[in-house]
C-alpha cells in the first residue's frame, strides 16, 4: 500500500469533523449579541431538540461523503472481496480460467447459490478486471477436462463462452484441467501466465502444485452435507440402489423412496447413518421409474435417480483351440491371459465353441477368435446381427485357416480360402504400417514367424489394410460392418509360430480392439462425460430429459457426450435402446481441499484482489450530495412555513 493510499485513507478520519461540528452546534446554538436579551423568552429545549433531530440525517450524509472521498482518493487500491487480477508492474497477463463444472459444484452455499453459480460470477469478475492486451483461455474441469475457448484477447467472446457454461454431473479432473490450461498459455509471449481455478477443489490435485496456479475462490471449498443416489437398477421385483453420503449428518433421518410408474409403491428404506456408499434394496411389484431420497441436504440435485433395468455388464469372449494353444505350464491360453492383463474390469469368457445362438453373445462386447478352422453358417449368422449392434471381433489366422471345414468359411472377416505359407527369406513386419499402435509397433520388427496367412486374395470390399509385411503382403485388416468392427490378423496367437504374443505390440493390438468395442457398444450405464460412439451412417437420435443431444463427427463416427445423469433414449435405424448416466461416487464423497498449497492462495502479484471502485464511489458521492441538497431544501421549506405562521410586528 503506497503512501498516497495511506494518506487518502487517513483522510477518512475527517469523518469525525462534521460529527464534532454537529455536536458543537447542537450543544450551543448560534450565539449573537443582543442588548434586549432580557426581554426574550427562553425556548431552549425546543430549539435544541429540533436541531438535533434535523441535523442527524445531514451529519450522516456528510460523514458518508467524506468516507467516499477518502476511498476515491485511495483509488483502485482499495481491497474488496471481488475476484480480480493483480499485475506485476502493470504488465498484461495471460490467464487460463478453469471452471469446475463437475457434479459437486451443484452444492449450494449457505447463501443459496450453487458453487457453480459463484464460479461463473467469479469468472466474470475476473474478466472485468482484465484489460486490453490480456489473453484469456477457458477450460472446464469436469472429467475429462476440456478446452472451451483457446487463449485469445477477445474478452467479449470469453464472456459469452462463460455464459454458455452449464453445470454437469461429470467427475472432477483438476489435474488435467490445470495441464490443459498451462498448455493453452504455453505458446504465448506473456511473462505473467496464470491458471485460475474456480473450483471447490473436490478432486485429485496435482502432486506438485505450481506457483502459476491460483485458487481464486477458496470459499467454494466448504464442507457440505450431501447424500446422492449414484445408480439404481431393477432386477425382477427388486430395485437395488447405491447411495453415497459425504457425512453422517447428511444421512441422518433420511430414507430412500421408490417411485413407480403407477405411483402404487410406498416402499422406503432408511439410510444407515454413515459416511460412504451403501446399497439399499427395495421391493416393488410394479415397474419402478425412479428412487428418491427424502429430507434435504446441500445438493438436492443428486437426490433422485432413474431406475435402470439390470445390466450384467459387458464381457470379452475368447475362443481358442485349447489343445493347440495351451501354455506349457498349464495355465489359460495366451490370448486369455493377455486380455486379463489389460485390466479392463470386464470379465473374459472363454468359449469352448464358437457361438451358435445370439444369446451367447448378448453381453459380449468383443470376441477374439484364434486360428479357427472356419466359421459355420450358424456362427456367421449370429455374428452378423451381433456386429450390427456395435460389437468388435478379432480373428487371428494360423495354419488351420488353410484347412477350413466343409460348409465353413471365414466370413464375415474374409472371403474365400486363405493360404498358409512359410515366410519368405528376410521377410519382416512393415513396422511403419503399424503406426496406429504407437511406440509399441517397434516390437514387431523381428518376430520371426514360421509362416503367415495370405490375406491378400481374401479381402472383402471395404476392408482396410492397416498392417503389412515388408514385402507388401497384408498382415492386418480392419473392416466396418454396421456399427461393428472386424479385425483380421495373418498370424495366430501361438509362440510356436511367432513371437507376436510375447511382444508389447500384441497387447497394444488387443487394447485397441477392446477400446473400440467398449466405445462402440457402450455400457448400458455409464458415468457422465463418457463418449457414446455411433456409426456415421443411419438415422440416429439420442434423447435425454432435456431433449436431443448434439452429435459431432470424430474418426468417421458420430459421437455424443451426455453430461447429466438420467435416462437417455437412443434411436438408431428404427431400433431403440435405453442408456443411463450415473453419478460418480467421488463427486459426493470427495471432500473439498481446504488445506491449499500456499502458492495457490494468492495470485502471482502477491496481493489480494484489488478493484477500482471509483465509478461506483463517484456515483455514490453524487447521490449523497443530491440527498444533502434535498434535505436542506426540505428544511428550508419547513422553516419558511414556520415563519409564515408567526408574523413579526413592529413595536
Amino acid at each position: 500500500m503506497s503512501f498516497v493510499t495511506i494518506f487518502a485513507l487517513g483522510l477518512s478520519l475527517l469523518v469525525a469533523a462534521p460529527t464534532l461540528a454537529h455536536l458543537l452546534r447542537r450543544g450551543r446554538a448560534n450565539e449573537q449579541s443582543f442588548p434586549a436579551a432580557a426581554l426574550v423568552p427562553v425556548t431552549r429545549s425546543t430549539a435544541r431538540e429540533r436541531s438535533r433531530l434535523e441535523d442527524r440525517g445531514l451529519l450522516l450524509l456528510r460523514a458518508l461523503m467524506i468516507l467516499c472521498l477518502a476511498l476515491l482518493g485511495a483509488g483502485p487500491l482499495v481491497r474488496c472481496s471481488r475476484v480480480a487480477l493483480g499485475r506485476s508492474a502493470g504488465a498484461s497477463v495471460a490467464i487460463a480460467i478453469v471452471v469446475d463444472d463437475s457434479a459437486s459444484m451443484r452444492t449450494r452455499s449457505p447463501n443459496g447459490k450453487t458453487r457453480f453459480q459463484r464460479a461463473i460470477e467469479g469468472a466474470h469478475e475476473l474478466l472485468s478486471s482484465a484489460r486490453e492486451g490480456d489473453v484469456v483461455a477457458l477450460v472446464r474441469a469436469g472429467k475429462p477436462a476440456r478446452l472451451s475457448l483457446a487463449a485469445g484477447s477477445d474478452l467479449a467472446a470469453v464472456a459469452r463462452a462463460i455464459d454458455e457454461l452449464r453445470p454437469t454431473d461429470r467427475a472432477t479432473d483438476l489435474s488435467a484441467a490445470i495441464t490443459l490450461g498451462r498448455a493453452a498459455l504455453s505458446s504465448l509471449p506473456h511473462q505473467d501466465k496464470r491458471v485460475v481455478l474456480l473450483s471447490d477443489l473436490a478432486g485429485e490435485l496435482p502432486g506438485e502444485p505450481g506457483a502459476d496456479v491460483w485458487a481464486a475462490l477458496p470459499e467454494l471449498a466448504h464442507k457440505a452435507d450431501d447424500c446422492g443416489v449414484l445408480r439404481a437398477e431393477q432386477s425382477g421385483p427388486r430395485v437395488s440402489a447405491v447411495v453415497a453420503c459425504s457425512t453422517e449428518a447428511a444421512a441422518r433421518s433420511r430414507s430412500l423412496k421408490l417411485i413407480t410408474k403407477d405411483a402404487s409403491s410406498k416402499a422406503e428404506a432408511r439410510l444407515v447413518v454413515q459416511r460412504g456408499e451403501q446399497t439399499l434394496t427395495l421391493e416393488s411389484k410394479a415397474e419402478a421409474s425412479a428412487v428418491e431420497l427424502t429430507g434435504s441436504d446441500q445438493n438436492p440435485d443428486d437426490d433422485r435417480a432413474e431406475v435402470a433395468p439390470e445390466s450384467r455388464g459387458l464381457s470379452l469372449a475368447v475362443h481358442v483351440d485349447s489343445a493347440g494353444e495351451a501354455v506349457a505350464t498349464g495355465g489359460a491360453p495366451l490370448l486369455e491371459q493377455a486380455l486379463h492383463s489389460l485390466s479392463y474390469g470386464a470379465p473374459v469368457r472363454p468359449l469352448a465353441e464358437l457361438p451358435r445362438e445370439a444369446a451367447e453373445l448378448n453381453d459380449v462386447a468383443a470376441l477374439f477368435i484364434d486360428d479357427p478352422p472356419g466359421l459355420t453358417p450358424e456362427t456367421r449368422g449370429v455374428m452378423d446381427s451381433w456386429l450390427e449392434g456395435g460389437a468388435v471381433a478379432a480373428l487371428f489366422l494360423g495354419a488351420r485357416a488353410h484347412d477350413t471345414q466343409l460348409g465353413a468359411s471365414l466370413e464375415p472377416f474374409l472371403r474365400g480360402a486363405v493360404a498358409w505359407e512359410p515366410l519368405p527369406q528376410g521377410g519382416k513386419v512393415d513396422v511403419a504400417s503399424f503406426g496406429w499402435l504407437g511406440a509399441e509397433a517397434e516390437s514387431l520388427l523381428d518376430i520371426a514367424p514360421k509362416g503367415r496367412a495370405r490375406l491378400d486374395s481374401a479381402l472383402l470390399p471395404g476392408a482396410e489394410v492397416v498392417g503389412r509385411w515388408s514385402d507388401g503382403k497384408v498382415l492386418v485388416t480392419r473392416q466396418e460392418r454396421g456399427r461393428g468392427l472386424l479385425f483380421s490378423v495373418g498370424l495366430p496367437v501361438s509362440v510356436q509360430i511367432s513371437d507376436l504374443p510375447l511382444r508389447p505390440a500384441f497387447l497394444a493390438l488387443l487394447d485397441h480392439v477392446v477400446s473400440e468395442a467398449l466405445r462402440r457398444r457402450g455400457p448400458r450405464a455409464s458415468e457422465a462425460g463418457t463418449d457414446w460412439w455411433f456409426p456415421a451412417a443411419g438415422n440416429l437420435r439420442v434423447t435425454g430429459s432435456a431433449g436431443p443431444l448434439a452429435l459431432r463427427e470424430a474418426d468417421g463416427q458420430r459421437v455424443t457426450t451426455p453430461e447429466v445423469v438420467g435416462r437417455y433414449q437412443i434411436d438408431l435405424n428404427g431400433k431403440s435402446e435405453a442408456r443411463f448416466i450415473t453419478l460418480p461416487a467421488e463427486e459426493v464423497l470427495s471432500e473439498p481441499k481446504q488445506e491449499l498449497p500456499s502458492a495457490w492462495r494468492a495470485n502471482k502479484a502477491g496481493a489480494a484482489p484489488q478493484v477500482d471502485a471509483s465509478p461506483e464511489l463517484g456515483w455514490l458521492l453524487l447521490a449523497l450530495l443530491a440527498l444533502e441538497l434535498g434535505a436542506r431544501f426540505w428544511r428550508l421549506l419547513r422553516e419558511r412555513r414556520a415563519q409564515g405562521a408567526i408574523q413579526p410586528t413592529s413595536p
Binding site: 442588548p35 426574550v40 425556548t43
Partner: protein, 302 residues
C-alpha cells in the same frame, strides 16, 4: 473631515459635525419654526456704543432725544439651558443586523444636532453621559466654541460600562443637572432604556422638578425593534450576564410584546411628571426626530 477619536464604528453617522449641522439645517428647512421664537427675548438695558457694535442695535429714540449713542441690550432666558444626557453604556454600541450604525452614534448625532440648534439661538448647552469610556461632561456653555467642545466630547466616547451593575453611573450624571439646571431648562435623555437598573425611570423623572422639561428618547436598533432572527439562537446581552437560548420563530411575538410592555411602563412613569418618551430606531430620519423633540416643548402635552 471629522476625526474619529474613539474606536467606535460610526457607520453612516460620520462625520458627526457635518451630519449634525445637516440635520439641524434640515430641521429649519422643514419647519421654518423655531421653538425659541417669541419666548425668552427681553430688553436688558442700554450701554454706551463702542466701535464694532452692531448698528442695528443703536437706540434711535435715545439718539434723537438725548443725542447719545446707546446700544440696546437684550437679555435671553438663561433658564432655557439645554441639557443633553447621552447613554454611552455598552449596549449603545450595538448596531445589529440591518442597522446603519451603533445606537450611540445615532444618539450622538441627535445630541449634536440639538446642540447646534441651541447654539444658533444663543442657548447654553450642557452634556453628560451615562457610562462610556473617555466620557467627559461639558457644563452648560453657549457660543460656537461650545458646539465644537460638545462634538469633540461626543466623538471621544467609546460606549462601555454596565448600567445594570453600576447604578452610580446614572445618578452621577443626573446629579449635576438636578443641582444646577435652572427653571425651564430643557433636558433630553438619549438612551435605549435597556439594562437600566431598577428605579432608574423614577430617577429620570426627578429631572422634571422645578419646571424643567424632560424628553427621553429611546434609541433602538432595527433588530431590537423587529427581532429578525431565525432558527435556534443564543442571545447574549451586552450588559449584565443575561444569556438566552431560544427558537427565534417561536419567541418573536413574545419578545415584541415584552418590548411594548416595557415602553408602556416607561411612558407611565414619565408622563404624569411632565416627561415625554419618544421611540425611535437608528434607521429613522434624524431630522424628523429632532423636530419631534423640539416640538415637544412647543406642544408639551403632545
Amino acid at each position: 473631515m471629522t476625526e474619529l477619536r474613539s474606536r467606535l464604528d460610526w457607520g453612516t453617522f460620520a462625520p458627526l459635525r457635518l451630519k449634525a449641522r445637516s440635520v439641524a439645517d434640515g430641521v429649519y428647512a422643514g419647519s421654518h419654526k423655531s421653538p425659541r421664537k417669541g419666548s425668552g427675548v427681553e430688553f436688558g438695558g442700554h450701554r454706551a456704543y463702542v466701535p464694532g457694535d452692531d448698528l442695528r442695535y443703536i437706540d434711535r429714540h435715545a439718539l434723537m432725544r438725548h443725542g447719545d449713542l446707546l446700544i440696546r441690550e437684550f437679555e435671553t432666558e438663561t433658564d432655557r439651558d439645554l441639557w443633553l444626557f447621552v447613554d454611552a453604556s455598552k449596549s449603545m454600541s450595538y448596531a445589529g443586523p440591518g442597522g446603519p450604525g451603533p445606537k450611540y452614534a445615532f444618539a450622538a448625532l441627535l445630541a449634536a444636532a440639538l446642540a447646534y440648534i441651541a447654539m444658533r439661538t444663543g442657548d447654553r448647552v450642557g452634556l453628560d453621559f451615562f457610562g462610556g469610556k473617555g466620557a467627559r461632561p461639558i457644563p452648560p456653555r453657549s457660543g460656537r466654541d461650545a458646539f465644537e467642545r460638545i462634538v469633540h466630547a461626543l466623538e471621544d466616547v467609546e460606549p462601555d460600562g454596565d448600567l445594570s451593575a453600576d447604578r452610580g453611573l446614572l445618578e452621577q450624571a443626573l446629579g449635576q443637572a438636578q443641582r444646577s439646571a435652572r427653571r425651564g431648562a430643557i433636558q433630553v435623555v438619549l438612551t435605549d432604556l435597556l439594562d437600566l437598573p431598577g428605579g432608574s425611570l423614577e430617577t429620570l423623572a426627578t429631572l422634571t422638578t422645578r419646571g424643567r422639561l424632560l424628553s427621553v428618547v429611546q434609541v433602538l436598533a432595527p433588530a431590537e425593534r423587529d427581532f429578525p432572527f431565525e432558527g435556534a439562537v443564543q442571545l447574549r446581552a451586552l450588559e449584565g450576564k443575561t444569556l438566552v437560548e431560544t427558537d427565534a420563530a417561536l419567541s418573536r411575538a413574545n419578545y415584541l410584546a415584552a418590548l411594548a410592555a416595557a415602553q408602556r411602563q416607561a411612558e407611565q412613569q414619565l408622563l404624569p411628571r411632565g416627561g415625554r418618551l419618544l421611540k425611535c430606531a437608528t434607521t429613522d430620519a434624524p431630522e424628523e426626530l429632532v423636530r419631534r423633540i423640539l416640538s415637544s416643548y412647543v406642544e408639551p402635552s403632545a
